[in-house]
Amino acid sequence: MTSRKSVLVLGGSSDIGRAAARAFAKAGYDVGLAGRDVAALDPDAADLRTRYSVEVGVYRFDVLDTAAFEGFVGSLPTLPDVVISIVGLLGTQESAQSDLAHATTIMRSNYEGPSLILGLFAEKFLGRGSGTLVGVSSVAGDRGRASNYVYGSAKAGFSGFLSGLRARASRGGVHVVTVKPGFVRTKMTEGMKLIGPLTVEAPVVGDAILRAVENKTDVVYVSGKWRLVMLIIKTLPEAVFKKLKF
C-alpha cells in the first residue's frame, strides 16, 4: 500500500474532470475516476498511470441515481483525501422553460446530486476529522440571468449548499472549496460564443483546483477577472439588471 494522498473525481470524463485528475496525479495523488460510462474512463486511467506512475481506480457513478449514493461511497476501497464534484449539465434554457422533465434533470444534475454526494462524503470526512471537498459550481449561480436561469439557479443552490457546509465542516477539520470557473472551452460550451479574454482552457481550471485544495482557499474564481465582473453584476440594482440584455 502506498501512503500517497488520493483524490476522487466525480465526472471524471468531462474536460475539467480530466484536467483536474491530471493535475492531482502530477502532484503525486492516487486517483479515482467516477462517471456514468466506466469504459470511457479506462483510457484516461491508463493515461494517468503511464504518465505519472500513480494508482488509478475507475468507478461507476450516476449523479441522478441518488438511491445508489450510499452504496457507492461504501464500495470505495478507501475513503479518499479529496473529493471533487465536476458533474453538471448545462441543458437548454429554452426547452427547460416548458419541458418540466428537462428542467428537473438540469436542477437535479447541478444541485441535488452534487450536494447530496458531497454531503455524504462530508459526514465520512468529519468522522475521520480530515479531508477536502471541492464543488465545481458556476458564476452563473451568482445572479439569475434571463438566458440561463434554470441552470443558474441550480448552481446557486449548489453554491449555497457548499458555503453552509464549509461553515459547519471547517470546525471538524474538513475543508470545502467552491470553484466558479467562468467560461471554459469544453464540450459543454462548444459552439457557444465565449468572450476571449474571460475564457480559459480546462487545464487552467485543473491547476486552479489543485492550488485551491493545497492552499485551503474557500472560493475560487478561476480567472481573477471574473471576481470583478461578478461583483459588478451582483451589485447592479434589480431594476437596472432586468433591463440589460445579458
Binding site: A40, P43, D44, A46, D47, T50, E190
Partner: protein, 443 residues
C-alpha cells in the same frame, strides 16, 4: 462555420470546425461530408490543416496509452503535443528522436508532415521512429498500418499531409537521454561558402543548423551562425544543475497585431546585425544549454506570428539537391537581400533522405525564409520557385500557402503513386484539404 487559418495567418478560410470527443465521433465527422481533413495544433503555416468543407480538430485526443521504458516505445493518441511528451518523459530520461523548431505540434501533425529536426542529415525524420499508426480512412475503416502491415498506406501517411485519413493513435520510439541539456558549439561563417562548408563539416554532429543573416549583401552574402549540438551527459553539467531543465511556458506574448510598419528593411537589418554580432562573440568554444532554447528558440514568445501584422506572412521553405545547391542558394539570397523585407532570420540546414512517399526532405540543403504578405510578394516567390524547380528542388507542404500546381508537380514525382493509394483507401474522395484542392485534387 468558423474562420480558420494556419500559423502564417494566410489564407483565412471559412470551415466547419469540429472537435470530436471519441474515435466514433471522428468517424462520423469524416463520413458526414465530402472534403474533410484532420487538424493538429495548427502550426502548419498555410492551408494544409484546413478541410475543403470540414476540419476535424484532434488536440482533444491527448491520452498516452502505454510506455515501455526498456525499448522507449510509446503508444499514444495523435493529439498529444510534443511539448507534453517532453515535459512528461524528459525527466524520466526520454525525448522524441525528432523535434521541429516549435514544440507545440501534435504527434499526428508531426507524422503527417514527417517533420525534420536539426538532426535530419544523420538521423532522419519523425517517420523513422514511427512503428505503427491507427488510421481512420475516408472510407470509414479503422486500420492499423505499419512497415509490414498495409505498408503502402503507412508510407503514404508519413508525410501525407493528413490526406490518407485521420491518424487516431501511433506507436513511436523515444530516445533515451541522460540529460535534457545540449552541448552546443557556435561557428560563425562570414559568407555563404563558409556557411555551407561549416554545415558539411558538421555532418558528423547530431544536430546542426545555420541562421543566415538574409539582409547581408555583397561579400557578406550568406553570412551566418552555425549551431552544432550533442546531447550532454550528466558529468558535463555544472555542479548542482538538474539533469532536466525546466521548460517555462511561453511568458511573453504578442497581444495585438503589430502594425506592419514595425517590420521594415531598416529594423530587419539592424536586428540581424545585432544578432550576428552577439552570436559571433560566442563562437568558438562549446557550452551547455537547455534543450528548450536550443531546439525551440521561438517558443519563448507566444503568438509571435502576430508580429507580421494582420495580413499574415508566408514562409518559403525549399530544399535543393546537393549538386547545384551553392549557385541557386546564392542566387535566391541575393534576390532576397535586394528586396529587403525578408525574415529576421533565415534558416539553412542539410537534409537527408525522407522516409515517406511525399516527405519533403531529400539529400541537399533546405532554406526557410519568412515574408510578410504585401504587394508583389506572390510574384516574387513565383520567381524564386522557378529557380528551385530548375535545380530539381521542391517546397515544404507544411509551410506552403501559395505554390503553383506546376511547381508542386515538378517537385513531387511520387504524386501519382500517392494518389493511387489515396484512391484505394478513400474511393469517394471524402478526405480533402484546401491544400490538396489547390495543388492536386481533380476539380
Amino acid at each position: 462555420m468558423t474562420l480558420v487559418s494556419g500559423w502564417g495567418r494566410f489564407p483565412v478560410v471559412d470551415t466547419d470546425l469540429l472537435r470530436p470527443r471519441s474515435f466514433e465521433a471522428v468517424g462520423d465527422a469524416v463520413a458526414d461530408v465530402t472534403g474533410s481533413v484532420a487538424r493538429g495544433n495548427g502550426r502548419a503555416y498555410g492551408d494544409a490543416a484546413i478541410g475543403a468543407a470540414r476540419t476535424v480538430g484532434m488536440t482533444g485526443f491527448d491520452r498516452i496509452r502505454s510506455f515501455d521504458p526498456a525499448t522507449g516505445r510509446i503508444r499514444l493518441e495523435a493529439g498529444v503535443l510534443l511539448a507534453d511528451l517532453i515535459d512528461t518523459f524528459g525527466p524520466r530520461g526520454f525525448l522524441p528522436f525528432v523535434v521541429p523548431g516549435t514544440r507545440f505540434v501534435s504527434v499526428g501533425g508531426a507524422i503527417a508532415s514527417d517533420v525534420h529536426g536539426k538532426n535530419h542529415h544523420c538521423e532522419g525524420g519523425f517517420g523513422r521512429y514511427l512503428d505503427s499508426i491507427l488510421l481512420r480512412t475516408g472510407e470509414g475503416e479503422t486500420i492499423e498500418v505499419s512497415r509490414e502491415q498495409n505498408s503502402d498506406a503507412f508510407f503514404a501517411t508519413v508525410g501525407g499531409m493528413g490526406l490518407t485519413g485521420v491518424i487516431l493513435e501511433a506507436t513511436i520510439r523515444l530516445r533515451p537521454v541522460e540529460t535534457g541539456w545540449i552541448r552546443e558549439r557556435v561557428i560563425s561563417a562570414s559568407d555563404l561558402d563558409a556557411a555551407m562548408r561549416a554545415l558539411d563539416a558538421g555532418d558528423t554532429a547530431t544536430y546542426s543548423v545555420a541562421w543566415i543573416d538574409c539582409a547581408a549583401r555583397g561579400r557578406s552574402l550568406g553570412r551566418s551562425l552555425i549551431y552544432l549540438g550533442e546531447h550532454a551527459n550528466k558529468d558535463e553539467l555544472a555542479d548542482g544543475a538538474d539533469a532536466f531543465p525546466v521548460g517555462k511556458d511561453p511568458g511573453l506574448s504578442v497581444p495585438i497585431d503589430m502594425p506592419s510598419m514595425t517590420l521594415n528593411r531598416y529594423s530587419i537589418r539592424a536586428f540581424n546585425e545585432l544578432y550576428y554580432r552577439m552570436g559571433a562573440r560566442r563562437a568558438g568554444g562549446s557550452h551547455v544549454v537547455s534543450l528548450y532554447p536550443y531546439f525551440f528558440p521561438l517558443d519563448s514568445l507566444s503568438d509571435w506570428n502576430r508580429i507580421y501584422g494582420k495580413r499574415g506572412f508566408l514562409q518559403h521553405q525549399c530544399v535543393i539537391p546537393e549538386a547545384g545547391a551553392r549557385a541557386v542558394l546564392g542566387d535566391i539570397l541575393e534576390r532576397v537581400a535586394r528586396r529587403g523585407d525578408a525574415s529576421f532570420l533565415a534558416v539553412l540546414k542539410k537534409l537527408g533522405q525522407g522516409d515517406g512517399l511525399m516527405s519533403f526532405p531529400l539529400p541537399g540543403y533546405t532554406l526557410a525564409l519568412d515574408f510578410p504578405v504585401n504587394g508583389d510578394i506572390l510574384d516574387f516567390l513565383d520567381e524564386i520557385d522557378r529557380l528551385v524547380v530548375a535545380a530539381g528542388g521542391r517546397l515544404y507542404l507544411a509551410k506552403d500557402a501559395r505554390q503553383s500546381r506546376t511547381t508542386f508537380e515538378a517537385g513531387y514525382p511520387a504524386l501519382r503513386r500517392f494518389n493511387a493509394i489515396r484512391k484505394s483507401l478513400d474511393p469517394n474522395g471524402n478526405i480533402r484539404s484546401k491544400l490538396s484542392q489547390r495543388l492536386f485534387d481533380e476539380v
